[in-house]
Each structure stands twice: as C-alpha cells, then as structure tokens.
C-alpha cells in the first residue's frame, strides 16, 4: 500500500449561501484506483469533483491531493490561501473532463491539445505537437487533427476533450458525467477510451450514471445523496446488494 493517497477528503463541507451542498465528505482514493461516484442530480457529486481542482472552494474540512492541501498551505495551525500561480500549477497536474466537453471552438483538435502544454508547461511546440498527435491516435481520432469541434460528433468531441486533459500528463483524472450529454450510440466509444486509461493505471474519479462501467471498471463505488456519502464499497457488491434503503431505491430506478 503506498504511503500517500492520491485524494484524501476529511469532513469536507461546502455551502452556497445557506444551502449546504456538501455535508462532511470523507473518502480516500489510492494511486491507480478508479472510483465511480453515483447518485441523484443535486447530490453534490459534481461539486465535490470541482473542489478537488479548486474550481470551487471548500468551507470546512480538509481536502488534499497527493499529500498537498488543495488551495491552501498549512503552517503551524494556520491556513494560508495559495496565490493564483500556485493554484494554476496544481490544477495543471489534474485533468478534468466535462459533461459538455467545453472544447475551445476557435481551435482545431490539435490546437486544443497543444494550447496548455505550450502556455502552461512551457513545452516546445514540436514536443507538444508530437504528444498531441500520439494522443489523438490513441483516442482513435488521428484523422481529425485539423477538424474544428463543430465538425465533430459529440463522442468525437469528448474523446478530444479527454486527449486534451491527457496532454498535460496529469497524475489524476476527474470525469464529470462524461457521457451524459451524448447520444446513446456514442456512449460506447467514450467509455472504451476511459476503460483503456484505467487499464494503463491512471487514477480516476468518475461521476457517472453508467452502472455497467462502474461495475466493470471501478475499483470502488460511492453513492451520494444530498451532500453526503450514503454508501461506499466494491462496486459489484454495492450494485448487486445495496445495504442502505436510499441506495436501494435509487438503484431500483436506474438499473
């Protein structure tokens, strides 16, 4: 067992005004682990994911990635907010894939992939382009290098978006409902890419409604409801034999 967890959350709280979105999340993700998060919409899954790369600030508790606190530095018993530069550097080590792809529409697939490596990691254009081409080939889109996002199908766009995140060589990948906006027949091609990633040992947290994927690929499964973790465990156990009544009623509706 490695000494440092990739993600470690202790009593993480988050509220929007008086609305409590996260009410004490405790969990741990080990390197190379694939954790799937399921639950009804509004249960706080996406919010938790966005806290991990500091797109949202947490209000209480501790959240750390690879042994370092997210967004803060702790010295003595005091927390110091990190300057923007540090936040950016940490974000650059975490890949994120969004429900609506969020590809840059004014750039070709290749340009989408090389933008951050060149601007953020200061890589040479040649290095970035070589890796970008290899990644596009890996997600099966070698011939779409010069296509603009509008010219691609939803499934193709999401595969480019995954490749864009991988181009930064992240140590952790966050997937926020990556297949929810896709036509049913395009879901498979995106899941195939994610399956490949998991097999190669990428640490992944996947917010999803794809129970088949969770059962087959997930190492662990978390069921969330109204800002709290209701149940967690091995996906095959939880899905086949949910312990909690809330989990049972949710699964009976989606399975």
């Amino acid at each position: 067992m490695p000494a440092v967890s990739m993600v470690r959350a202790e009593a993480v709280h988050k509220n929007y005004g008086r609305l409590e979105v996260l009410r004490g999340i405790d969990l741990e993700v080990q390197p190379k682990e694939v954790m799937c998060m399921i639950g009804p919409s509004g249960s706080g899954k996406s919010t938790f994911l966005r806290c991990i790369n500091h797109l949202e600030k947490i209000d209480a508790g501790r959240l750390s990635v690879d042994g370092e606190l997210v967004g803060y530095r702790e010295r003595g018993d005091r927390l110091y907010e990190l300057p923007d530069r540090e936040v950016c550097r940490k974000r650059s080590e975490i890949g994120m894939v969004f429900q609506h792809f969020n590809l840059f529409p004014h750039m070709t697939a290749l340009e989408n992939l090389i933008e951050a490596p060149i601007r953020v990691k200061k890589e040479s254009r040649a290095t970035a382009v070589t890796r970008a081409r290899a990644l596009l080939e890996r997600v099966g889109l070698a011939e779409k290098v010069d296509a603009y996002p509008k010219q691609l199908s939803g499934g193709q766009q999401q595969r480019v978006a995954i490749a864009r995140a991988l181009a930064m060589q992240p140590k952790l990948m966050l997937f926020d409902e990556p297949t929810s906006a896709l036509d049913p027949e395009l879901v498979g091609e995106v899941l195939d890419v994610m399956r490949g990633l998991a097999k190669d040992g990428m640490t992944m947290i996947v917010v999803t409604h794809e129970m088949g994927f969770a059962r087959e690929v997930g190492d662990s499964l978390v069921f969330m409801d109204s800002g709290a973790i209701v149940e967690k465990g091995d996906p095959r156990d939880v899905l086949a034999n949910p312990q909690h009544e809330r989990t049972q009623s949710f699964l009976s509706k989606v399975l």
Partner: protein
C-alpha cells in the same frame, strides 16, 4: 413486429429507386416587379431634380473632388479615424477587463471612466483638450504637483491640433468600446473559462487565448459600426482646427461660396471611405467565424449573385459554392 421494413431497402427493390426530381412551376412574384418599378421611378425623379437644379454647379463638384486640399483632408480624416479607433479599442479592452476584474479598485476606476467619458459630449472633450494650455502651461511627470520634475514640456508644443482631436475622440470612444468588449466577454460561455482554468491556465492566459478570441465574434459588428461612426465624427475635429475633410470643405466654400457643391464633394468621400470600411469589416468577421459555423458565410460578391438569382426565382436548391472550411460529416 410490423410489416413495414425499418432497415434500408434492399438494392434493386422498388423502394430503393430514387423518384424523379420535382420540376414545378415556381410561384410568381408580380409585386416584386411592381415595387421595383415604383422605386426606380422615385429614384429617377430624385436624380433628375438634382441634376437639373438651376443653382447646382455639377462641374464644380467634379473639379474639386480630386483637388489637392480635399485629398489631403480625406487622408487626414482617415488618419484621425485610425488613431482614435486604435486608442479606443486598446483602452476599451483594458477598461472592459478592469470592469470585470475581481479587484474592486480596478472595477470602480473603470466604472468611473465610462461614466465620465460617456456622460460628456465629445465635442466638449475635443475642445477641452485643445484648450488645455489655458489652464496648464506645462505637462510633466514629477514627484509632487509643483515638481521636482522628471520630465516636462510646454502644453502648447504637446497638444497640437491633431493630438487634441485624437485624444478627444479616442478617449471618448474607449468608454463606448469598453461596454462593447464587456458584452463580448460576457457572451462567452462560462464552461470555456472553467475548461481553461482546469488545464492550469492563468487568468490572463484564459482571457487572452480563450475568451477574447471567442468574444470577437460579438465585438466586431458593433466595432465596425463604431468605426464608421468615428469616420464621420472626425468632422468635429474642426473645433481643434484640424484640416480634415469637413474643415477643408468649410474653408473652400467660405472663399468660393460653393457651399452645397463642397458638401457633395465631401459626402462622396465619406461614402467611399465607409464603403471600404464595410467591406473590411466583412472579411474580419469571416476570419473570426472560424470554428463557429460549419461553413463560412458567403463573400459580398457571392451574396450579390445570390440576390440576383433569387429576385425572380425561388432560392436555389443547391447552395452556391462557398469557400468554406472543410465541412466534415457529423
């Protein structure tokens, strides 16, 4: 299961054969012809009346159209337009970004600037800069209001007519451009900013590389409008004695009494210059449409051809050839 085949028909089957293309007689549009005749009649009347107006000396219009002073005025008008718009756009972008900044000082300064410069007439602002020397003898950079100076210069030698007009027009324009740019920035979907931030890009990089290029599509049409408006507003530079088109026309007509003739001469020039700006705007818009549409919009020539075709016939079935970015299947 029903009897109706749901899959593609087998080759050679009855259903697989493509039916004959429709050849129908198009709907006639007699009103289009009637209205065209009426409009032409009015236009012909207007041209005839002007052409035969007893005191209108058309030869004078022709004679002065390319006269040296008028040409110099046209060049100066164009220079003023460009200079003022460069200041306006550059400062406008800065003000818009400041306005949206999380730093309250930045946002407040920008708000105040826009409030002040939009709230006073541009004519007054040009006149103010032109008369700056009355209240300030010197302009400089120093430690305290009364020196010691790091650098200073007499106001009269700094604020020449062209500078006064450019400052007045440009600083005023910046206030309007700031709002146009802000509208453009707001129009870009928030997911774009998030995706860029998630990749580790800094606030400045996100703005410069991701948000502003996409905002351009919203920013350019009103900016073209502003540029065309500016071309004509430069005529206010006469209060700072800049010898641009309008000032030249005034000077010539006051010594020759060709008042209306000179108005025609400069109107022809203003129309000519705005036409060129309109065409330039079109091509800039096409450039920034990259990736926004699957096909680029037609060029003015292509749409003119299409208009001629559609005047008396239904729209063509097959779209006219468009020099497009490669449009892939979906």
């Amino acid at each position: 299961m029903t009897e109706i085949a749901s899959g593609p028909p087998a080759p050679g089957s009855q259903a697989g054969r493509r039916p004959e293309a429709i050849k129908a007689i198009p709907v006639r549009h007699p009103l289009r012809w009637v209205s065209a005749v009426i409009v032409l009649a009015f236009a012909a009347d207007a041209v005839y009346t002007l052409a035969t107006a007893p005191n209108m000396r058309w030869a004078v219009v022709g004679q002065y159209l390319f006269q040296r002073l008028i040409l110099q005025g046209a060049v100066l008008t164009l220079e003023l337009t460009v200079a003022a718009m460069v200041i306006g756009i550059a400062l406008g972008i800065v003000l818009a970004v400041m306005r949206l900044s999380p730093n309250p000082v930045m946002s407040w300064v920008s708000w105040f600037y826009i409030w002040f410069f939009r709230g006073t007439p541009v004519l007054v602002q040009i006149f103010f800069w032109w008369n700056l020397a009355i209240i300030l003898k010197n302009i400089g950079i120093g430690i305290a209001p009364n020196g010691p100076w790091l650098w200073h210069e007499a106001t009269n030698s700094l604020i020449v007519p062209f500078t006064a007009a450019t400052l007045g027009l440009g600083l005023n324009e910046a206030a309007y451009m700031a709002e146009i740019v802000r509208a453009g920035i707001i129009s870009v979907e928030h997911g774009q900013t998030e995706a860029a931030q998630a990749l580790g890009m800094s606030r400045l990089q996100v703005m410069q590389r991701i948000v502003l290029p996409q905002a351009m599509r919203v920013i350019i049409p009103p900016t073209g409008n502003e540029t065309i408006s500016m071309l004509k507003t430069t005529s206010l530079a006469f209060v700072a004695t800049v010898p641009e088109l309008y000032t030249r026309a005034q000077q010539i007509s006051s010594s020759t009494f060709y008042v209306v003739e000179m108005l025609f001469v400069i109107s022809i020039w203003y129309l000519f210059l705005t036409s060129i700006l309109t065409i330039a705007q079109y091509y800039i818009e096409r450039h920034f449409a990259r990736g926004a549409q699957r096909e680029l919009p037609p060029t003015p020539f292509q749409s003119f051809r299409r208009m001629l075709v559609t005047f008396h016939a239904p729209p063509p079935q097959v779209p006219l050839p468009v020099t497009a970015v490669r449009s892939e299947h979906r």
